[in-house]
Amino acid sequence: MAFSKKTEQRDLFRGALEMMILRSVLREPMHGYALVQHIKQRSNELLQVEEGSLYPALQRLLREGLVQAEWEISASNRRVRTYRITSAGKKHLEHEISSFERMLEGISLVLSPNES
């Protein structure tokens, strides 16, 4: 179980992974494996997301109706499940990003060495 513990520690905060997924599938619909590679690449390998941890997050997004999934045949002739963002997902992403920015601001205020 050492693996899963580490993953949980690496999760920055609840909802961060979901945000990244939504951002990625907003650009273009993708299947799970492609999503992992995409997020790793985009973060310059800084975010060492455990590949499996993506799937629970995808399930949560599916449940909330923020993404849709369909089985398709990929270019490499493989049966893959492709995720698309829904309009609700788009709205949610916008909201999350703005509140994330506000939170970042708050944290940096609290953590800043010179207290006003």
Partner: protein
Amino acid sequence: MRWLKQLVTRQGIYNDLSEEIEQHLAEKTEALMAEGMSREDAERAARREFGNVTRIHERGREAWMWPLAESLWADMKFAFRQLTKSPGFALTAILTIALGIGATTAIFSLVNAVLLRPLPFPEQDRLMWLSLQDHSLPGVVPQSVSYPDYFDWRAQNHTFESMASYARSPVILQQDGDAQRMDAQVVSSNFFQLLGVAPMLGRDFNLQDEKPGNRAVMLSYALWQSNFGGSKNIVGKTIQMDDEKFVVAGVMPRGFQFPLENPGPALWKSIADDADGTSPKTVQRGFNVLAVIGRLKTGATLDQARADMNLVAGNLAREYPDNDKQFSSALVEPELAHMTGDVRPALRILFGAVTLMLLIVCANVAGLLLARGSRRHAEFALRAAIGASRTAIVRQLLVESVTLSVCGGAAGVALAYGLVQAAERLMPLDIPRMNRASIDGSVLLFDLAVSLVAGIAFGLLPALRMARSTPAQALREGSRTVAGVRGQNRLHNGLVIAQTAIGMVLLIGSGLLVRSFIRIVNVDPGFDSKHVLTMRAGVSFLKMQHDQHFLFYQQMLARIAAVPGVGSASAGWPLPMNSSNVTVSFNIQGRPMAKGDEPSESLGVIMPGYFETMRTPLIAGRTFDERDGLKGPATIVINQAFAKKYFPHENPLGQHIQVRVGDDVFNSPMREVVGVVGDIKRKGLTAEADPQYYLPFAQAVITNPYMVIRTNVDPMSVQGAVAAAIHELDKSVPLYQVSTMDEIISKSTAQPRFQTFLLTGFAAIALVLAAIGLYGLLSYIVVQRTLEIGLRMALGAQRRDVLGMIVKRGFMLALLGVAAGLAASAMLTRLMATMLFRVHPFDPLTFAVTSALLLVVGVAASSVPAYRAAQMDPMKTLREQ
């Protein structure tokens, strides 16, 4: 319906997830192989990078579960971790809660058993208690019913499916040369059928069994087992009771009894017994001994039944004015309400008291949570900073407090179980069904509900308070402050004041009960109860006729008086503090009255020496002696209340009274009043002594009297010698109801003692909790203000100034609590007026002493933290800050 759809489609979702994960691993393996890895290595690497597949599956599925339950579970796990991290706090809180919830649950189990549980009979809500209303006295005065009235009721009413009569009628069971006295009932033939319980063996009674000459008996399961070995052949056999032969009709199922007083009768006789003889009870309209129960017709209402029965009783009163004139209406009440009517107010008060105690417990734990919360400010600030919403923090805190209270509730169940067991053993009470109090499903449900409500009640305010502080403010406060958090202290102060006020209400309530109880036990019962042994002898009325009966008692008492250790012995009926009582109508010579208007008072029948043995004072004239024997002139002795009521302005001695009692009731002699004695509290210590008159036993042999034996030694120690003396005379006479007079008096005060004991217990706990609450708050304030106190001392404040400052704070809080408590008590104590005996609900002494007590306790509770504050070393304190 979304959840239903989910439930159906969930398996499909999980299958998709599995396939997706398999595909992912396959794609990854291929990619790694393309980089030159062997298939085996690539597969292993793919799995490693993916993580724990089972766990991922699990978490993926969790996404589809009920989100609130899921996060509640997480919160609860976290709450447990938090509590185990500070076991001292958790244990204190849980024990306090267990005390509150345990006591509440215990009282609820009593309330449940006595008041709430339905009667154990089918369609019990249609069972009605019926009685005559005596209009010759003010208020609601139920009067037992006579056989002729009962038969007319049964025939003439229109609202009852059936109506049955029952009356106590102890018997002596003669078996194998042994005689045993048994509690028994005489019941009408439809009694069992009306209650809806059939005999488990044999046949039910029928109308034939009510006819004179027949002798049928129904056995209880217990008697069948104990005396007849549970033999199925008993049905149809003959058994001997009171020197007569009875045919066993059947056996009732185990545990059957009605009414539900304890213990239940050993057997039931049909009313044929009372229909026999030259002047049978079944035709005497003035012989009011029956209790009546009815089963309403389906659809009939209580009001309809009342109107119906009033009509029936009114007709009978007009038809038979000689006997029924004052009984022109009837009382109808649901049986359950009637049975529990007497104890209902007392149980309500107890339940109210224990609820108040629970409130104190909640306030106390809320105080604990507040103090603890202030140490966790930084933790919650950090959580808020990383995005926890206010709701999430409140929810987390509430889950913590509910976890505490559920743990406390679980411990409370154990406590309640112990309390109920102890109450049963320590407090023998004649409350119907109380011995059936148990921790059953509804009590557990109650316990759980109270735990949840209490958890939210004491957790909510502190939680809201905690969640209010903003992260930045809280983190800044992580460093020591001088003034403390004002708002939080205000809340904490309020809690302490509330605890004191509620504690005050409980203390005043218990103080009033204690004062009342002291008044009760100091009432002069009209006789000296110390060193008096009482018992009854089962002398058969069939074997010994009137005169022999009296002579037998005379010899028996002479033998008893000769037993070493016995001072004197006599006999009389009824015994004081005993529910048995008969009122008989009479008329006074020179004051002619129409037959239905004759006055009626309580009758006593006594042997010579009764008042001397009981030490009841003689006021005028003489008591009975050998002159008042079988052949002597007809005499009567009256008590003071009787003299005052009927002879207010004349000398009662020498007056003549005719009492309709004895063998020839229609030709009773005029009796001369030969003496006036002091009043005996017949009904109980708290009741007013009522007018009573006494006839010599020789002239009115109506029942087996109670023997009263005054001893010079411990009365119970002569019991064996007395029994031996009686059995020398006649071996076949069973002795029963052996008790000391002190025990009888003590039993008559059992209920007030029980109430007083319980309420005082609650009040004591409340006092301790209020003291702990105050102590806790002040200790907390002292720690919070360490810097300030150190500064003050450094600036020249004396130790006694610091001491005074803290004690004054405690005193002020106690004073506010006392003031609020006084106001609340003034409103609440009137509710317990009916429980008080010769004590006013606003008894100034109780109010004053309680206030003083609470203030003293308040100062005492503040002095420990105050002393601690005064002992601080200012330099050390300031350096440490």
